[in-house]
Amino acid sequence: MIQASARSRCVTVTTTEEKPAVDVDDDVDLEFVEMIKKTGGPNIQNCYQCGTCSGSCPAGAFTNYLVRGIIRKALLGLKEEVISSPDLWFCTTCYACTDRCPQDVKPTDVIKAIRNVAVAEGYMLGPHQKVAAKVVEAAHAVPLDKESWQNLRVKVGLEPVPPNASGNPWAIDEIRKITKKSGFEKLIGYEEFMKAQKEKAKKKAEEKKSQKKE
């Protein structure tokens, strides 16, 4: 029996608007493929769209993420569509596709190369931005910033804070210098992100206040 995937997608069958065709002059960026080739996916043009990657993909089984589709769009030069799509960030970099690809396209590396382009152009998914901001803030993508984790360490007989940057504020300062100097902060929009975070927190606090009043 054929079992199409469990997930269902709602598709609008009719539309009153005309569906515009891809405009080769306006929508297509021919440099895009060259950039991907240089920065991680030298064999992307070998792709013959067999679907081994997307079939193998565990992320694709639960989300709309379709590696093969992203590669196809990239090959067409639909840069804006590819880098602005949140799907791009659903790859878990498990490398199952890279392992199985019969044409050595290295889809994972292609996705990573595209992500670099996306970030440079200002596209990044919230959670990823958050993780990147953590690196700037705490010098670790996953810092020990919860008490429960410290307790856990003590419970198994470890020092509450490990001898890495978490326990050495001077190291965090040094990392901060690097992230600043290298342009990493600017790249991930650190300032804006922190500002937004603060405002969000402020708003939340105000909301709470008004709730209390009521």
Binding site: M1, I2, Q3, A4, S5, N46, Y48, Q49, C50, G51, T52, S54, G55, S56, G60, A61, L66, R68, G69, A96, R100, P102, Q103, D104
Partner: protein
């Protein structure tokens, strides 16, 4: 008699003072689009002894050739240089042109400015410069050319066809029907090949054995065909018109002439073993034939399984056809031409004689899951004459499958296995689907494909027939197949690429369209015949378009799947085509041999005074004799013209006609006259490295215009004196390119001699103070255009890294040591600056 041949081959007939005509071919825009032809014309006019220069749009076309003939007459030209494509392309054409005009055909030289220049370098000064120097080198050689006469050898009017599949059968039948005695050599017990194993053929659904069987029988009945089955090729010697082939006939333990094919022995035999011809799905007796239609109808005892109960001897009775003490027999036959038609091997197909298990880590669980079969196994199952009498059943429970899956491109189009498309799988999958559906109409068919390729005559109709029959075609290459341990069903997982959705299909039986691969023993046979394999492992044709059936060895032709996978109609056409090619040789009494042989000067040879015989050792063909107290002598009929002896002779007593020391030295000097330090001097063997460099051009691969290429027939011709001369003149780099070791050499072992010689000399060069990377030995095959390009790129980079100044410094430092042997032999020309008549 051989002496007289030496005379004709090397006799200087009509030696004439050089008056060179240079013809510059535009080749449309292929050359003229990159190079400034007027500039080349002006340049060529100034070269020594050039009296006439002419541009043509297409020199090889009739008007271009006419102009050459006209100019020879009007300007009394005695040498002709055509600057155009590779000599491997049009040298024969222009030799004929020159001959027509009454000039000796060896007064012709080609300057390869297309494959070596305009096709592989961008427009620009350095490219223009390279083109000029290529012409200069050609003119320098042309000035020294000597007239030669081709000599003729008799042709043995017999042919050999190696491989008795449908291709070989047709080749042999055509040759035999043209009146030539033909030996059809087959490795297995019967001729027939893969076609005999197939049930039906696409797209017409003809019964395969019903149409091939009569042809097989025709072979056995044709008085001109001698089938040598169950035999291996041991060695091949000789040359076009005169090959000597040694064959080993394996012991059948049944006397072929006495066996009537009655089969009574089979009934008496108590032992059964898996029949590899039936893909090990059926069995055969220890004395048996692999299949009922076998030709020749002679039984064979498999001694690996025979228990020597001798029941068969009793059954055979008075016929006395069984002989347990039969020995393998070595025979030798002489033939004029050889057609190679050794076909292919299907992945996971058992090899006759060894009932080995298939690969443990097969694709999609093959070898692990019971109900995963190869297409060839299904051919045997679906065939009424097969082990199940035409029932396609599951291995796990013998039941008919209700849902059958096919996976295409298993091992094909896969960078991790075989990069090529196996050509016939799309069609046979549809065919097998049609047959299975015909046998069991309620079967569902699922075909997983990457691309459906149905480009033959009537093939697209057949594909539509498949769709109309309700087969489900799913575009998607399955990434995983798992087995349900209870039902032994198989679950195929993939993405339906056209839907963009993951899809899972459970089938009762899974059939893999496994890749075709080069036959077992392709490499070994290639080595014996001195024919090359292309990158995919199949035999390589001389030219992909214009000589698809020829090999680099004159008189040896290719047909069918051994050159690349192809289906039956195409294979049959090639079989007949190769027969026609072979007949062009066999139909004449004699064949002309290139007179580029080696000649020993008895005055200079020192074997008269003391025992030397180095040339005798180096000759790959044993063509040289050196009797005590006498000068060595080359047996011209056996000399293949590699020049290995020439370069090995310490006395320089040997000359290779048309590739003389003087001619090559003149090329070296022309190449290195200006800016020697910036150049890579390449000595390229005609068959591998030079062809590879041509392929780089044909493929339009770009590389720096630093190389100056000198063609020699074999890398064994490259004398250390040549390398010394190059450094004396200041060369930046030297590359000696030959065929791949161990067995690719067109002349058996010239490359071994060359490698050893160059590596030995590299130590001398290094000892003299020259950076080791400046002398390189590299094996580059005719298929490796890209490797040629990468080598030149790499060496150009090294050249840049070392730097001109350092190179000059090293050359100066090494000068004394490098020059010594040249000086001793008097090879350094007394300063004679070109006296231009300005």
């Amino acid at each position: 008699m051989t002496e007289s041949k030496t005379d004709t081959a090397t006799k200087v007939v009509d030696f004439r003072e050089p008056r060179v005509g240079v013809f510059l071919c535009h080749c449309g825009l292929n050359i003229a689009g990159t190079l400034d032809m007027d500039d080349l014309e002006e340049y060529s006019k100034k070269l020594a002894d050039v009296v006439f220069v002419k541009q043509n749009r297409y020199t090889c076309a009739d008007p271009g050739q006419d102009e050459i003939r006209k100019a020879i007459a009007e300007h009394d030209l005695t040498r002709v240089v055509v600057a155009a494509c590779s000599p491997r392309m049009h040298e024969p054409t222009f030799r004929t042109t020159v001959k027509d005009a009454g000039l000796n055909e060896f007064y012709f030289e080609m300057a390869n400015i297309r494959e070596h220049c305009s096709w592989c370098h961008p427009k620009g000064e350095a490219t223009q410069e390279k083109a000029k120097e290529i012409i200069k080198m050609a003119v320098a050689k042309a000035r020294l050319l000597a007239p030669l006469q081709k000599f003729e050898v008799p042709v043995t009017p017999k042919a050999m066809v190696i491989g008795g599949g449908v291709t070989g059968i047709h080749s042999a039948l055509d040759l035999a029907n043209m009146g030539f005695k033909t030996y059809l050599v087959e490795r297995d017990e019967s001729i027939g090949g893969h076609m005999a194993q197939l049930d039906k053929t696409f797209p017409t659904l003809d019964c395969s054995i019903c149409i091939e069987g009569p042809k097989m029988v025709e072979c056995s009945r044709n008085p001109n065909i001698e089938i040598i089955s169950y035999a291996d090729i041991l060695s091949v010697d000789g040359y076009i018109g005169n090959f000597r082939v040694k064959i080993l006939k394996k012991a059948r333990y049944v006397i072929q002439s006495e066996c009537t094919g009655c089969g009574e022995c089979v009934e008496s035999c108590p032992i059964e073993y898996p029949n590899s011809w039936e893909q090990n799905l059926g069995t055969r007796k220890a004395i048996s034939i692999p299949f009922p239609q076998a030709v020749p109808l002679v039984f064979t005892i498999n001694m690996d399984h025979c228990i020597e109960c001798f029941m068969c001897i009793d059954a055979c009775g008075d016929r006395q056809a069984i002989n347990f003490s039969q020995e393998p027999e070595e025979i030798e036959v002489e033939v004029g031409t050889i057609v190679v038609a050794t076909g292919f091997h299907s992945m996971y197909e058992p090899i006759p004689g060894s009932e080995s298990k298939p690969a443990e880590k097969g694709y999609y669980g093959y070898g692990k899951f019971d109900n995963v079969l190869t297409a060839l196994e299904v051919e045997r199952l679906v065939c009424a004459g097969g082990p199940t009498g035409g029932e396609v059943i599951r291995r796990s429970d013998g039941k008919h499958p209700k849902r059958v899956g096919f996976i295409q491109c298993v091992g094909s189009r896969d960078i991790n296995k075989y990069e090529y498309c196996s050509n016939f799988c799309c069609m046979y999958t549809i065919k097998n689907s049609v047959l299975i559906k015909e046998h069991e109409p309620d079967t569902e068919i699922y075909i997983f494909y990457i691309d459906m390729r149905t480009s033959g005559k009537g093939y697209e109709d057949f594909y539509r027939r498949g769709r109309e029959s309700g087969f489900t075609f799913i575009k998607g290459r399955p990434y995983e197949v798992i087995e349900d341990p209870d039902t032994k069903n198989l679950i195929i997982r993939t993405e339906d690429a056209l839907l963009g959705e993951p899809i899972e299909v459970e089938v009762d039986l899974l059939i893999l369209s496994t890749a075709g691969e080069p036959s077992e023993g392709t490499n070994e046979l290639g080595s014996k015949l001195h024919i090359t394999r292309s990158g995919d492992g199949f035999f390589m044709e001389s030219h992909p378009k214009l000589k698809p059936l020829d090999t680099p060895v004159d008189g040896i032709y290719l047909a069918g799947a051994c050159q690349g996978l192809k289906d039956i109609p195409y294979s049959v056409a090639q079989g007949s085509g190769a027969a026609a090619r072979a007949a062009t040789v066999l139909s004449k009494k004699t064949v002309e041999i290139e007179p580029i042989v080696a000649v020993i000067d008895p005055e200079t040879c020192v074997n008269t005074d003391r025992k030397c015989g180095i040339c005798v050792d180096k000759c790959p063909y044993g063509a040289i004799n050196a009797l005590e107290g006498k000068a060595a002598v080359v047996n011209v009929a056996n000399c293949h013209g590699c020049g290995t002896c020439v370069a090995s002779c310490p006395q320089d007593a040997i000359t290779q006609m048309h590739f003389t020391d003087e001619q090559i030295m003149a090329q070296i000097r022309a190449a290195l006259e200006d800016k020697a330090e910036e150049k890579i001097l390449v000595f390229a063997c005609n068959w591998c490295c030079y062809s590879g460099s041509d392929l780089a051009g044909t493929s339009r691969f770009e590389y720096p215009p630093t190389a100056r290429i000198i063609r020699v027939m074999c890398s064994g011709r490259v004398d250390t004196d040549f390398v010394a001369e190059a450094y004396r003149l200041g060369a930046g780099m030297v590359l000696v390119g030959g065929c791949h070791l161990p067995t690719d050499c067109h002349y058996i072992s010239g490359n071994w001699v060359a490698k050893e010689r160059i590596e030995r000399y590299a130590k001398v060069v290094e000892g003299a103070g020259i950076s080791p990377e400046r002398l390189r030995w590299k094996e580059i095959s005719a298929a490796e255009g890209l490797i040629f390009v990468n080598t030149i790129k790499e060496m150009s980079q090294q050249l840049e890294d070392i730097g001109i100044d350092k190179i000059k410094e090293e050359n100066e430092k090494a000068r004394k040591r490098i020059e010594a042997p040249l000086r001793r032999k008097g090879l350094i020309p007394t300063v004679k600056v070109a006296e231009s008549d300005e």
